[in-house]
Amino acid sequence: MNGSLKQLLRSPLFLVVAAVLLWFSVTFLIYPNLTLLGTVFMPEGQLSFDAIRRLMSSQRAMESLRNSFLLAVILSVTVNAVGIFIVLATRYFDIKGARVLWLGYASTLIYGGIVLVAGYKFLYGDSGFITRLLLNVFPGMSASWFTGMFAVVFVMTFACTGNHLLFFGNALAKVDFQTIEAARMMGASSWKVLRSIVLPTLMPMVYAITILTFLGGLSALAAPQVLGGEDFQTVTPMILTFANAPSSRDLAATLAMILGLSTIVLLAVMNRLEKGGTYFSVSKVPVFLQKQKIENPVANVVVHAVAYALFAVYALPPVLIVIFSFTDAASIQSATLDPGSFTLNNYLRVFTDYSALWPFLVSIGYSAVATTVVVFGLLFVARLVQKFRNPATAAIEYILHIPWILPSTMVALGLIVTFDHSEWLVGNIVLTGTLAILAIAYVIGKIPFTLRMLKAAFAAVPDQLEEAAAILGAGSFTTFRRILLPIVAPTAAAVAALNFNHLLDDYDTAVFLAHPLYQPLGIVIKNATSNDTLTDTTALTFVYTVILMAITGVTMWLVYGRGAGSGVSRRRRPSPKATKALLSASPEAAREPRELAAAGAANTLEK
């Protein structure tokens, strides 16, 4: 049922939603960003593109841009290679210990950003375990070998395979096993089957993830900042720096817009590619995947070896973080383990000292509030734009995607310059310095991802259900509440969990907007990992990281855990319903990649 504007006007619920939506869009998406662009590019009321000239004449800026794109291209290859391999190793090939391997590979799902980079540096840095090991073998080697493009690519390759685990793995599970059986019967080898039957059907998903990876590389922050050295700095740290200096914000805005435009172009390319070929399961009776044995003994050994080597790479940093979180600052500094230095004091301190625990409470509070608001609100909005397709809702939908084009730093600045004085749009309240402004920024940042996912979830609900409800006498609100909401609830929960996790360790937005007495975790961690501080916070950072991983792990488990169809557990009992809960909730394999790419763009841009 395709609703008309007239229908919309007849439904009081949607009228309210539309009104709130309109107000929110104008107040928090359009007005602040226009204000910001105005102050940046028209400082004296006159349009000035001096920023472009300054950037063009800066070799460093140009190199950073080049490095960002270079990183994006390289990662597109390396992340796909590793990502596809780990998914195949855990879910396609019959590899011993696949469950454990999967857990190791999945560690990047529960920690990321600066914490992850610090973890790798802890292992491969100047005084890291691996470095010391290597120095024993090659005494002439430089201790600071882990720097520059290689180090950044290495760390980011492993950090960015989460999408493969979630989305590629999910798509693989949906491949019709009968096609594999058929190919086998015709004498195809396992390699041939993989290359010409399995992978081609998954290409749309690979495209989608490639786009995500590309955007992730483009907007990389922590890894190049910490590991890039002088030869491999990228553009996002530069944006942050310039955004922090009021007189250089036009540079930040210009660079941000270059990234934003790239995102738009990529999404357009993605849509085009996707039109080229999508693959549906044509089978009426899809048979779920069975693990494939690798017949060639040499290949089998090699694949096992690579799988376990990768496992070590993935698992070591988080394991070491956990272990060292029980030691003191000195042990952490020197990366040495001494039985005498083990202590529970760090944890005791976090859980007994209110001021040490406080950042956690703040982060959890903000993440929960923002997640709840954005998911709950967008349930209505997604329904509205999905049901009533007309120019007005199309325009609103575009506006809701603005946070993709401007990175979170710019959104935060826009809010500051707009609401640092009283504005009638928000009831003449000065929002800066209040608790609300950070929550608003978090909500804004999460809109595109949430909207795309929920819209896809609603679109996947067969129209006939609504018709059935209508013919039984249910009004649009009853249908929404009693039929549609319960169906999209699993998707909403998954989206909520991802949002929640993502906001927990946010730094970029908080640094501008957090109330000084309510500083979230991201700021505390960042402060502790930056220079100029005494080391007594180092151990605390490790503890924070471990607790963060625990919280994130629990949320992930709640939506993806056993029985919810993720990982290796699906072998026993295929659960199409639960699979649907995995993010897209779309029955059409074709829709998933697009939503995913779009949604991921939002995520990576925020990183």
Binding site: P516, D532, L558
Partner: protein, 365 residues
């Protein structure tokens, strides 16, 4: 009949969703049910909020205790120099802070220009050299004078004479090239003082941004021949590992780091002198606790407190009366540096542009 039904996948999912909902709800409640540390007591409206970049390394905790003894309840917001600036500016119409201290005069000039401060003449105004603070508007007042120094690892050089004698030696003499640390983030107060100290030597009204071409060449060489600071690693940690031998430091930072990293360092005493950062204190315009805030400023800048602070954290108080009871070493070491003649007006006018130019053109990586 229903009870005996097996638990279906749907049930599990439903429970998970309910659980997730509960977690989110609980999380949301947290934000309203809890109060930040130190804000719980009934007197919280009289609790002062202070923004500062000078409360790390245990300084904040110490001051909090002392202030409590004197009857003040205070909460610190510990931020970098640039962040304190940005925040105070952003919040100027709805200030959260009541008092700010620790930033140097260059930053305070900017705050003043942004209308963030309120004029107030503290009780100890007569005991300080007012020219170190806000000469014209009485909006900010000096508390600590601190030399911004070039320090080197003593172990790296056989004799003091073999060590660099001025900043310019670093990039003009081959033996130092690549062995000194240069900052990668230029937003910090210390870094900007260093840059001012180098660039102000080449002031030229006709030059780009008030600096001669020669001056820009020097700064370019400074960055080109330095070793980039490593994010997350202290200069002293790198000096200990002999990755670099020299870098920028402020006086009290030198003392605490020597102790922590167990290396001996020495500050270079250039003939032209070194830039002095004069930390200031000021009242925030629009504070709802102006009376308490003023009392705090009177107390904090007093000879007694400044002397204790000096003893504790190795600083040279601006308050002349504090000198006698202050850490003699700190005063003596501070006095040992010549105050470099710097046109602070020029610096205040151009520092942001300088930083931007350096970031765009000279910074490596």
């Amino acid at each position: 009949m229903i009870a005996s039904a097996p638990i279906t996948l749907g049930d599990i999912l439903k429970r998970r969703i309910v659980l997730l909902g509960a977690v989110l709800a609980a999380g949301s409640l947290l934000s309203t049910a809890c109060t930040p540390p130190g804000q719980a007591s009934a007197s919280s409206n009289e609790s002062l909020i202070i923004y500062s970049n000078s409360v790390s390394d245990g300084r904040g905790d110490w001051l909090k205790k002392e202030a409590a003894a004197a009857g003040f309840k205070i909460d610190f917001v510990d931020l970098g120099g640039g962040d304190v600036m940005n925040r105070l500016t952003a919040e100027k119409n709805n200030p959260v802070a009541d008092v700010t201290f620790g930033l140097n005069n260059v930053y305070f000039e900017k705050l003043k220009a942004q209308n963030v401060l309120d004029p107030y003449t503290p009780a100890w105004a007569g005991d300080v050299d007012a020219s170190l603070g806000d000469q014209a508007g009485k909006q900010f007042w000096p508390i600590v004078r601190e030399p911004i120094m070039l320090v080197f690892n003593k172990a790296a050089y056989a004799t003091p004479a073999a060590a660099p004698q001025d900043w310019t030696d670093l990039w003009t003499k081959d033996q130092f090239k690549g062995k000194y640390e240069v900052p990668t983030a230029l937003g910090g107060a210390t870094t900007q003082m260093v840059l001012a100290g180098i660039l102000a030597r080449y002031a030229d009204p006709n030059g780009e941004l008030g600096i001669s071409a020669e001056g820009w060449a020097q700064v370019k060489a400074y960055f080109a021949n330095g070793s980039r600071a490593v994010t997350g690693e202290d200069l002293y940690s790198r000096m200990k590992k002999s990755q670099v031998d020299a870098g920028q430091m402020w006086l009290s930072g030198k003392a605490s780091r020597e102790k922590q990293y167990g290396i001996a360092t020495e500050a270079v005493k250039p003939a032209v002198g070194v830039p002095f950062a004069v930390q200031q204190v000021a009242l925030i315009k629009g504070t709802k606790k102006a009376e308490t805030a003023k009392k705090f400023i009177d107390w904090f800048g007093s000879a007694d407190v400044q002397a204790k602070w000096s003893k504790q954290f190795f600083t040279a108080p601006a308050n002349n009366k504090a000198a006698a009871a202050a850490d003699a070493q700190a005063i003596q070491q501070t006095a040992a540096f010549k105050n470099q003649a710097i046109d602070w007006t020029l610096v205040g006018k151009y520092i942001d542009k300088w930083v931007e130019k350096i970031q765009l053109e000279y910074l490596k990586g």
